[in-house]
Structure formats: structure tokens, C-alpha cells
Symmetry: D2
Subunit: 236 residues, 4 copies
Amino acid sequence: MTKKICLITGVGPGTGTALVRRFAAEYEVAMLARSNERLAQLAQELPSAHAYPCDVTNTPQLMHVVEQIRQDLGAPAVVVHNAVRGAFGSFLEIEPEVLEENFRINTMSLLHLARATAPAMIKAGEGALVITGNTSAYRGMAYFAGFAPTKAAQRVLGEAMARELGPKGVHVAYVAIDAVIDLEWTRKRYADKPDDFFCQPADIAEECFRLAHQPRSAWTYASVIRPFGENWTLNA
Amino acid sequence: MTKKICLITGVGPGTGTALVRRFAAEYEVAMLARSNERLAQLAQELPSAHAYPCDVTNTPQLMHVVEQIRQDLGAPAVVVHNAVRGAFGSFLEIEPEVLEENFRINTMSLLHLARATAPAMIKAGEGALVITGNTSAYRGMAYFAGFAPTKAAQRVLGEAMARELGPKGVHVAYVAIDAVIDLEWTRKRYADKPDDFFCQPADIAEECFRLAHQPRSAWTYASVIRPFGENWTLNA
Amino acid sequence: MTKKICLITGVGPGTGTALVRRFAAEYEVAMLARSNERLAQLAQELPSAHAYPCDVTNTPQLMHVVEQIRQDLGAPAVVVHNAVRGAFGSFLEIEPEVLEENFRINTMSLLHLARATAPAMIKAGEGALVITGNTSAYRGMAYFAGFAPTKAAQRVLGEAMARELGPKGVHVAYVAIDAVIDLEWTRKRYADKPDDFFCQPADIAEECFRLAHQPRSAWTYASVIRPFGENWTLNA
Amino acid sequence: MTKKICLITGVGPGTGTALVRRFAAEYEVAMLARSNERLAQLAQELPSAHAYPCDVTNTPQLMHVVEQIRQDLGAPAVVVHNAVRGAFGSFLEIEPEVLEENFRINTMSLLHLARATAPAMIKAGEGALVITGNTSAYRGMAYFAGFAPTKAAQRVLGEAMARELGPKGVHVAYVAIDAVIDLEWTRKRYADKPDDFFCQPADIAEECFRLAHQPRSAWTYASVIRPFGENWTLNA
């Protein structure tokens, strides 16, 4: 039997790689990231993972890559938008363009990606689009002016698409991580924190995989996850 | 190997029975409901399901039953609070006592149940308490004055317990069903609706089962589920 | 011209007294509280303020007092439900009855009060019911299991009544104070905090007064207020 | 005594003009809009209203106009960001650029405006920035993919700025209108609706004026307003 296709953006060392490993167990996975190095390594390690280096903010390039994936592997049944770029700082001091660039990668590329991949899912009468986010999708903390608006926009864009695609059998879901993800650099920054403090990339990937396969009578749009030991600040 | 124990309240014909079937596959299940008839039938059908007829608003009776379960089967590792009573009508016309009674079954019995079962979970350093709810947990629609406040109270009580129990390894989760559940009486009332309109009890039960087994680095408190084809009114 | 009537529950030393002062400037005010001492003082000081000692959880007494006010002053055009009782502590250690009692004062007495006073407002085609609350109306923090559920229930009860009464010209509004109110005992507990840390009772009273008089084309249900200098934790 | 300065963007025929009228009663008002025609009329009618034709998405032009206002009138004590552009349609059919353009006018111009005007407010230790929005700031309805994300981003940007500016004495507030505003074109589109269906621009303007003058111990960030007779869909 032919495996279904899964497209994943933002294949970095943490959640992105974990997503690839999880989905590669059951899908042919098309991996997108700007740099090819990690993609090439993963492709070598995992026979079902295929490298498609791409800057998702370069729309013609993104459209070209999606078309290439369709020809090479087939139309994606699942798309995971994990590409993200953040920023931190006073709204008075950040470069305003930072907000616009983050909007381009976090929100606009989601719209382009959905436009390129949803029609085949609609035709098939099934499919899933999963988006990874965080608490900035719900609130604007001080010094997050350059980032939080783009995650809120992303969540609400996903919601608008979910309401439109749902009745056509295509599921859109948003995973908000209310925690620090366990990564090399976060371990350094939070060196005093115990293991329990961190959210595991493999668990995030599992949650994305689960949402992509929910039964049709019980779909979730927004899923918020956090470690059991952690301080819990979001009302959700 | 000895099976773990699961306690389920509100074992009615829909979600309650589906919960029993789902958990009985892996747990010894203690079933609570006011009438013994359904419990006896399920107990006969499922060797792992055990009948404990009980009115959860009768606190001494509830305490007695929880103690009996502990002696018969052992301390519950999972508790699912599915018992519920509703009401509909203008706040000017309902009997005010209805609100108080619904609070007793929907909210107070959850508190009593949690007090009786959480200490053993804390001692074990693990366990789960799952609560089933609906959109009334989030908003007060007109003519829901006798019901919605008790579900909102229930959700917020669960949240307070989740924040207290989480760091002790005990997971509390709230499943809100934003849909009409597929039951004999709902099929009659919504006779013109297609199958897709209804949320399946088996899918609700699966979601409760899943939440009771989430990995510790990625717990969810509030999970909202709805059928794919359905009108979607809640902002969550 | 005859002044309109305003009924205020929970006339304690802080917000309650400030509410009386604010509304007494333009209304005949019926003051409710369990103890008569403060009411008598206020009644002596303010000619428009009238003492109606009453335990709002004693429903027959509450009904009697509302009827007495109607005979003495007339039917209230504005009702402010400020009576509240709280609790703090682990859900495992509080007396469970505390939650039920808080529900009675915070939620049930609101229902009884609204049932007794809304019909005259509906008949008049205008009127307002304002409820004072706090962040527990939105979330369940750890150790607030005995209190937060009752404020969430209160907010959602008010919302259900707002949706039912709105089209009849009667406005229901909920003021959530996301701060510590400036009171004798809070000043002692937070002795190290500057003036800016506290929310002023007079400002809360002004907000309630304003909401009671909003133009009909632009009503607010939920209003969250907090001091400018304060740490801001609620997503609202 | 010299009047304080108020800057208003998006001076269209509805809310924008109402804002100008309301603030001109107590402020010198700098009016911004792309077309000069309405501004010139208002400037002639209202001696305190001054025309500054400007495309707020043209950042150098916006910066120039803010500087011009500062020289002509003084630094604004109040800024009202009412400029908005919307879109409607399936995410599959809209031009993707529409979302980016709406982000530029609804969100980016707010950031630029705040960066240009907040420093003087911080120096003064007081000031207000009021943003007008709607229910799209909270949720993504189907067919609102080209618009809702930009309002959600705007609300969250305002929130991030509110948390940063609040402790410096500068108030940021967001007014979400959960209704159809009473305008020439909306009256035509909803010709069958009664007067009560519509939210009055003058009432919206009054709400913005009020928020700009709240006492410091009781600030509101998000204010949702709706007509009394109206169907009420937002959970807020």
C-alpha cells in the first residue's frame, strides 16, 4: 500500500525534527527548512523523509516546492506548519520591520501553504492542517509586540480556515505550547530548571500526530499543552 | 498483572456507557449511577465493569461507595466525572432550587469525589481526573441560567484542582463537547439532522481515555471537541 | 421630580460604601448588609440612603426586604449585587460546605434578587443589574477551589440573564476587578505596596454607575478594571 | 488654557467623524484620512478640527504628518487608531496580498503611530491610545481569513503595548464593537433591520472618549460593546 504524504515546515532541531520522526513512521514526509544540512541528515537517517530546502517566505519558491512534492511524492494529506520566527523587545526599540517579517513567516506563509495544499484535501474529502504555536497566540505580554501579534493572527487565520474547511472533511488544528520546549539553547538559558520544567519535542509531535487523526465526530481546533510541574499562566 | 481501577460517575445510556466500555478494556471499572438496572446489565456484559449504584449528591452514600470500591477493587487511578443534570428555561420561570440542585450534582459532587480519591493518587504520584462538560462551561446563553452557571463552576473548580494537583503528578482535564451527543432522545429531537451533526459517545470516551494517559510533559486541561460538519459557535 | 431607586447588596466598608455614596448622589438607595451598624451610619450621613439589614442567603428575608423597599421607596431601577464571600485553601483541606455556602451568597442570592426585581424593570422597559466580581470569575487558581467556582457561576448566570433581559431593555453588566481593592485590611496585608498598587473603591463605584447608564446602542457585559501600575495576569 | 491634542486616524463618515466631533469638544483634533474632502469639511465646521490628509500605510508620510502635528498643535495626549480595512471571502479565493495589506493598515500603522507618539506621553507621564476593533479581534469566522487575523494581531499588539506603557502612566484600550455600525451602506444592506439593530457611531465615540479618561486605579484594556436588542455571539 502506498503511504500518504505529510508536509512539514520549520524542520529545526527541536519540534521540527520530532515531527519528522513521528510522521515518518507512517507517512512519506516532505521536510521544509531554509538550510539543507539538517534535512539532508534526516533524509539519510529516515528513508521516508525527503529534503525540500525552501524559504517559506519566498512565495514563488514555496509554490514551486509544493508542486515538486506533488510530483515526487503526491499531494500532502497532512500539512504541519511549524516554521516560526520570534522577536523580543520594547515596541519602542524593535525594528518595526521585524513585526512585518514575523507576520510573513508565521502567518502569510501559512495562508500560502493552505491555499496550495487544501484543494487536493477538499477533493479527497479528508486531510489535516496542524499549526504549532504558543501562548503568544492568546495574549500580548509586554516586550512581545514584535511577535505575539503574528501568532494571534496565525491562530485566528487557522480558525477561519478550520470553519471553512471542516464541513468539507478537512481538519485544521492549533497546538499552543504553554511552556519552554526542551532544546539545547533553552537548557542553557534555564540551566537551573529541572527536567520537568520543559515540554518534550516528541510529546508535541505526538499531539500534532493525534490531532491530524482525530475521529470526525470529535475534532478539536485549539489544543493547549503544558508540563505537569509547570507554573500555568494562560486561561485556557 | 493487576489492572488499575477507574471510577466513572453518571453511567447513563450515552457517554457514560461508552466511557465504561472504553476504560473496561484496560481497567477494572467501578460504575456509579442512581439506577442499578443499566449498571447490572453492563456488569453482566463486561467482566471488568462493576456496579455501584449511588446518588452522587448524597455525600455520605458517595463516601461509602468510594470506600467500598477501595476495599473491593483498590484505589482508583482514574476518575471520570460524567454525572450531570441540566435545566432549561427563563431565569424568571425556573424553580430557583433547580440551580442549587444542579450545582450539587455537577459541582459539589465533583469536589467530594476529588477529595475522596485524590489523596491516593497524590501518594502514588500519578492518576487522572477527567470531567465531561459542554459549552455552558464557557458561556451563559439565554434560558440556561439554571444550568450554565453550574458547568462554569465545574470547569473552574477542575482548573483550581488541576493547578494544585499537577505538580504532584495528578492530571485533571476537562472535555467540553460543543455539539449534540448522539443519543436516542437527541436523534428524535433533531430528526432532520444528518449523522454528521452528532458527536459520537465512543469518540467522547476515547478523548477522555486519551487525556487520562497524556505524557507528563504535555498535559491539556481544557479540550473542546465538535463534529467536523457542525456549526461552530464557541470561541475556543 | 422623584428620584429613581437603587438597591445595593453587600454594603461593607469598601466597595459597598463607595457604591452607596456614588448612587446616593442621584438615586434613593436601599442598602443591604447583614449588620445594621454601618447601614445606620450611612443612612444618617446620607439622606438618600436607607438601611435594610438583611442576610441575602436567607431567601424569605431577602424577598421580604425587596417587597419592603418597593413599598417604602418604589421598585428599584438599578440593582448592584456586591455581596460576596470568599475562601482560600487547598480543596483537600477546606470544608466542602464552604463552596456551597459561597455559592449561596455569590450566585443563588443573585438569582433570587434578579427574579424579584427584573419584572418591574421589564415592565418599565429599562433598568440595570450590575454585579461586582474579580478574576476568579475567569479562572481557577490553585487554592481557590472554595471560591472561584462561585464567581465563575455568578458571571455566567449574569451573562444568561443579560442575553434574556437585554432585548427587553434591561441591562446586565459584570465588573471584574483584576487587582487588590484599597481597604484597611488589604493595606495591612500588602503594607509594602505603593498607593498605585490598589484599586480605589470610588473608581469601582464609578464604573458600576457608568455601566448602569450606558447608551442602549453600546452596552457592555463584562468590564475588567485594574490599576495602571499593576502586574496584569488575566487574558481579558 | 491651552487645549490638549488628540490625533485620530481613519476619519471616515461613521465612527471616524463621530470621534472627531466628540474629541473636538475638548481637544484640538488632528484628523487623518487618505482623502482630504471629508477632513476639509469637518475642519470648516469644527474650529478645533484640523485636516492632515495621510495614507497611514505610507510610513514616511505618517511620520512626517505626526511631526507636522507636533509642530502645528503640539504632541498628542490622546491617539485614536480607527483606520481599518477589511476583506471578505474564502481563503482560497481572496488575493493573499489582501491579508498583508490589511495587516499593514490595521496593525503595522498602529505600531508606527504608537512609536511616534508614545515617547511624548511617557515623558508627560500620561496619555492614552485607543484602538477601535470588532469581533474579528477575538475569533476567525469562515470567510474572514483576509481580515480577522489582522484585527486579532491589532488587539494583541495593543495589549503588549498596554502592559509596557501602563506602568509609565500611558493607557492603551481596545474597543470591540460586536454589532453592525449605523452607516449609510449598512442601512442599505440591512434594510429590514430596526434602529435597535445598529450601534451608533456617537456611542462608540463616547466609549473611546471615556476610556481615554478612565481614573488610573481602574483602567480597562478590552471593552466590548453591542446594542441592547442584538443577537450576542461573542464570549466576552
